[in-house]
């Protein structure tokens, strides 16, 4: 860190939660000053400020006492709570309060944890990017309130000296997760891992929690990076057509044209050898330029062999797409961090049922012999929906909680994967932990936690 730039003091709202805790730990690991704001105390390694995010005075008090310059707001009720009024109070009013408190106390930065679910309404989300609008009819109350909160955050950007950004992680999992893992374990415990709804050709994005935390730190660091070109609202004459927009600047071109290779953190990283860049291998006589050839192969920058970038007009990173985006939101440059949303995933979408199966496979290592191998029992989607309807009716009539719902069937059969090119180019985000490694770490943690709570009961 250069002396020019003052180091931020961080406050993680929801710092004792699943994601918040990982953010706190990563900030500590890199030597930053961080405090946690939450409802209840849980850890004693960072300053803790108890409070209610809908109470502006308690938020302001905590900000002042901690000297916070950057807020990372992760606080959110569990999505499974199913209480719209709580969602609205915490997600919408709470976020509004935080924004007001930040402005009142001179906080410079706000990073908000939104959700990829804000753009999901039951139909397929196939390779979608951040331009996809919020659906007019929300999927549920949780995502509706997250979308409203996100809109508040973006609206607040640049006002009162505050810079804001919203991140939309998809399918967060990892150590500390008690939502997804609980469901997976229940299926495992109940011996129902062989059931499958749908044909498993739909793809889903999961994201290891450490990568989500890392994305938050990147966003915080880059919030005050100047845009690669001034927003078109600053032009003397307001552009009213595509042709009025200035050509892309060199800085903009650099951002959209530098090569980004495919993400291969799980499938294995190997460079393809070429006659100009390869290992020397066994040789009797070294080739001319031997050292140059070997050095080029070891060079992590692939600038030596630029790859062609072929973009369609539907690509948001194309020149055409960027100009469209400038017209849509004139006050923000589409390649800046502030005032933007970013999808954050592992960049490794895979077929829906693969992920739970990997989880169950990993659990087998801790509970050997518990599962008898069985072939998948596949329910086509229409059958699944019919059974789910029957299940919901039965639950309604008997007053019992329903676990097999139409939402879950829809969820299991839909494509939900995202194009994270914007996060990679503008934030510089790359997943640090692959899915396979992430699952291993998750089960390792989960087993220790499971055994600890089991021992407490004795």
């Amino acid at each position: 860190m250069t002396s020019r730039k003052t180091q931020d003091v961080y406050m993680v709202i929801g710092g004792n939660g699943f994601l918040g805790r990982h953010i706190v730990q990563q900030l500590q690991e890199r030597g930053d000053i961080v405090s946690a704001f939450d409802i209840v105390a849980r850890y004693d390694d960072v300053p803790f400020y108890p409070g209610d995010i809908t109470d502006q005075s308690s938020v302001e008090s905590a900000i002042r006492r901690s000297g916070t310059t950057c807020i990372i707001h992760t606080a959110s009720p569990h999505a499974s709570l199913n209480k719209p009024d709580v969602f609205h109070k915490v997600n919408v009013e709470g976020t509004r309060t935080i924004i007001a408190a930040a402005v009142a106390t001179g906080v410079r930065k706000l990073v908000f944890t939104s959700s990829a679910g804000v753009v999901f309404n039951g139909t397929d989300n196939i390779d979608i990017d951040e331009r996809v609008p919020i659906p007019e009819v929300p999927m549920d109350a949780y995502n509706d309130t997250k979308a409203k909160a996100e809109a508040l955050v973006l609206e607040a950007n640049g006002k009162g000296g505050l810079l804001t950004v919203a991140l939309r992680p998809a399918g967060i999992f990892g150590p500390g997760d008690r939502q997804a893992m609980t469901g997976f374990y229940q299926v495992y415990e109940g011996g129902k891992t062989h059931f499958q709804v749908g044909d498993n050709t739909n793809m889903f994005d999961w994201t290891y929690v450490g990568n989500v935390a890392y994305a938050h730190l990147l966003a915080a660091d880059k919030l005050d990076t100047p845009p690669p070109a001034p927003p078109i609202s600053s032009l003397e004459k307001e552009p009213l057509s595509f042709d009025d927009i200035p050509e892309l600047t060199d800085a903009e071109r650099q951002l959209i044209e530098h090569p980004v290779s495919t993400i291969d953190i799980t499938t294995g990283r190997h460079r393809v050898p070429t006659c100009e860049a390869r290992p020397l291998g066994p040789y009797v006589t070294p080739p001319p330029n031997a050292e140059k050839i070997a050095a080029a192969f070891e060079n992590p920058d692939h600038a030596a062999t630029p790859r062609p970038l072929v973009r369609t007009r539907f690509d948001q990173m194309s020149e055409y797409g960027l100009k469209r985006e400038k017209l849509r939101r004139p006050e923000v440059n589409p390649l800046q961090v502030a005032g933007q949303v970013f999808f954050i995933t592992n960049g490794e979408p895979t077929y829906f049922w693969d992920f739970p199966r990997i989880i169950w496979n990993e659990l087998d290592r801790y509970f050997p012999g518990k599962r008898t191998p069985r072939s998948p029992f596949v329910l086509p989607k229409p059958v699944g929906l019919a059974l789910a309807s029957a299940s919901e009716w039965f639950g309604y009539l008997t007053g019992r909680e329903v676990t097999f719902t139409r939402f879950k069937v829809t969820f299991s059969c839909a494509n939900r994967y995202h194009n994270i090119e914007k996060a990679r180019r503008v934030l510089g985000y790359e997943p640090q932990v692959g899915l396979q490694e992430g699952v291993k770490r998750t089960i390792e943690w989960w087993y220790a936690d499971h055994m600890a709570s089991k021992n407490q009961k004795k």
């Binding site: 196939i126 390779d127 979408p349 191998p373 994967y417």
Partner: protein, 485 residues
């Protein structure tokens, strides 16, 4: 193909019979290299070139028909390139030639290829293509007639290739190690024997002017094409190679499953077969790594015959990988995709969108056979997912082509359609604003402005319509008939 074979096919595989019959009836050859008007580029008027075409038919049953379809002098050039590399490969393959004899021939093969009168009769009697070397002076004669910018590429690639082959052969002969240890070593070997072919072909395409000049410098993409094809063959040819004591699978992959020797994978007890399947799966994950690069390469091509030439082996490769995946038969005997499937692939491999869909279909078939207890299970899913992403990112599925009218339509249920609609609405709002500004300034809008507005709207609709690559199916004939003999 004999009439009895056709009848047998009709009775046992009626759907395949139908496909092959359609192929035979409707796929017609576009180019006749024997025709008088083709002589200036095909060289058919020279006895030496005719003999070279015969050698091509003899040594490349599956591919000579596709080579002959290439435009202009590309066909002859690529045919000769093929024969030169086949000659080199024949020397390298021959295990009866002692290393002391083999090394100098390999290392000077690029010189021999331009030395008039050079030939070699030292190959073993059972070497399949030895006749090519016995008459290699014929190839030399024709190579020397090539234009310099083609000839130089062929010689340069031959030099690099022969050096790599000789170095690996020397290592095997002197150290006694018969295995490739690491994936990096495996990649390098494949680069020498196949990646360089991809580089050479790309440079020849670029030199011909039928493809853009920058194609020749896309080294990682052209190498990925070569590596995808070579790795597929190495995986499929496991048994055939093992019988000849040749081993190309890297120990880094198969050694992870408890094998000390590759020959151990032949056994048929349940435990060995399972572990061999994991090794097989690991090899296929590694090969799939090149799929997206290969698709990127194909997307750069403009000339139809060049596209067909490159796309057909690629789709054959992905189909072969699917055939090999979780296939225990592969360890016992040579396996091949069925002729009807090959015919279907040849007829479909005409544009990059279609090739992407073929890759995706086979990726889904691979994935459907994946076993959760396989240590590579998640890698398989992710590798297939990359192909899915490539297809959607390059040719988004929310743009649908109505088969009746050929008109394009946007899927109303896809969220991406709402992005396009939002842009259209924005453009309309801005157009209204421009008109309002015109009136507010106290002057009537000029006729030119109206024209500009119309053109702007037209451009917007054209942009929204998105130009898909809709190349008409090129003709390719007799390739599958060659498979049938």
């Amino acid at each position: 193909m004999a009439i009895t074979t056709w009848l047998a096919l009709l009775l046992t595989h009626p759907l395949e019979f139908r496909t092959l019959l359609q192929f035979y009836l409707y796929h017609e050859q576009k180019r006749d290299i024997k025709a008088l008007k083709e002589h200036p580029t095909s060289g058919w008027d020279r006895a030496s070139m005719r003999r070279c075409w015969e050698f091509l038919d003899m040594t490349s049953r599956s591919f000579s028909a596709v080579i002959k379809e290439l435009d202009g002098d590309l066909a002859r050039t690529i045919a000769l390139f093929y024969l030169v590399l086949r000659g080199l490969d024949t020397v390298e393959d021959d295990m009866t030639i002692p290393d002391a004899v083999k090394q100098p021939i390999l290392r000077s093969f690029h010189v021999h290829t331009v030395t008039p009168g050079w030939k070699f009769d030292g190959c073993g009697p059972n070497e399949k293509d030895r006749q090519l070397l016995v008459e290699y002076d014929t190839v030399v004669e024709e190579v020397n007639l090539l234009l310099p910018h083609y000839k130089n590429v062929i010689i340069d690639i031959t030099l690099k290739m022969e050096t790599g082959m000789a170095d690996y052969a020397h290592k095997a002969a002197t150290t006694g190690t018969i295995y490739l240890d690491t994936v990096a070593e495996y990649d390098l070997y494949c680069h020498y024997v196949a990646g360089l072919v991809g580089e050479g072909l790309s440079r020849i395409f670029a030199a011909s002017g039928k493809e853009v000049a920058s194609l020749g410098s896309q080294l990682e993409l052209s190498n990925s094409m070569g590596l995808l094809l070579q790795k597929t063959n190495i995986i499929r040819d496991f048994r055939e190679d093992a019988d000849e004591k040749r081993f190309f699978w890297p120990k880094e992959i198969w050694g992870a499953y408890g094998f000390n020797e590759m020959s151990e994978m032949h056994k048929t007890d349940p435990d060995t077969m399972q572990r061999a399947s994991w090794a097989q799966s690991g090899m296929i994950v590694d090969a799939l790594r090149h799929a997206v690069d290969s698709l990127d390469y194909l997307r750069l091509l403009k000339n139809q015959s060049v596209f067909n030439f490159c796309a057909i082996p690629a789709t054959m490769a992905i189909a072969t990988l699917e055939l090999c995946f979780m296939n225990k038969e592969m360890f016992q005997r040579n396996i091949k995709i069925r002729k009807a499937d090959a015919a279907k692939l040849i007829m479909r491999s005409t544009n990059p969108r279609e090739v992407g869909l073929i890759f995706r279909d086979y990726a889904r078939r691979i994935h459907a056979k994946a076993v959760p207890s396989d240590p590579n299970f998640l890698k398989i899913g992710i590798a297939c997912g990359k192909i899915e992403q490539w297809c959607e990112h390059s040719y988004p599925s929310f743009i649908q082509i109505l088969p009746e009218s050929g008109r394009q339509e946007l899927d109303p249920n896809d969220p991406r359609t709402r992005v396009v609609q939002g842009e259209q609405n924005l453009e309309a709002a801005l157009a209204r604003k421009r008109k309002l500004n015109g009136i507010t300034n106290g002057k009537a809008p000029a006729q030119l402005e109206l024209t500009q507005t119309s053109m702007s709207e037209l451009a917007m609709y054209v942009g929204a319509a998105f130009a898909l690559v809709m190349a008409l199916a090129g003709g390719i004939v007799y390739a599958v008939m060659k498979y049938s003999d």
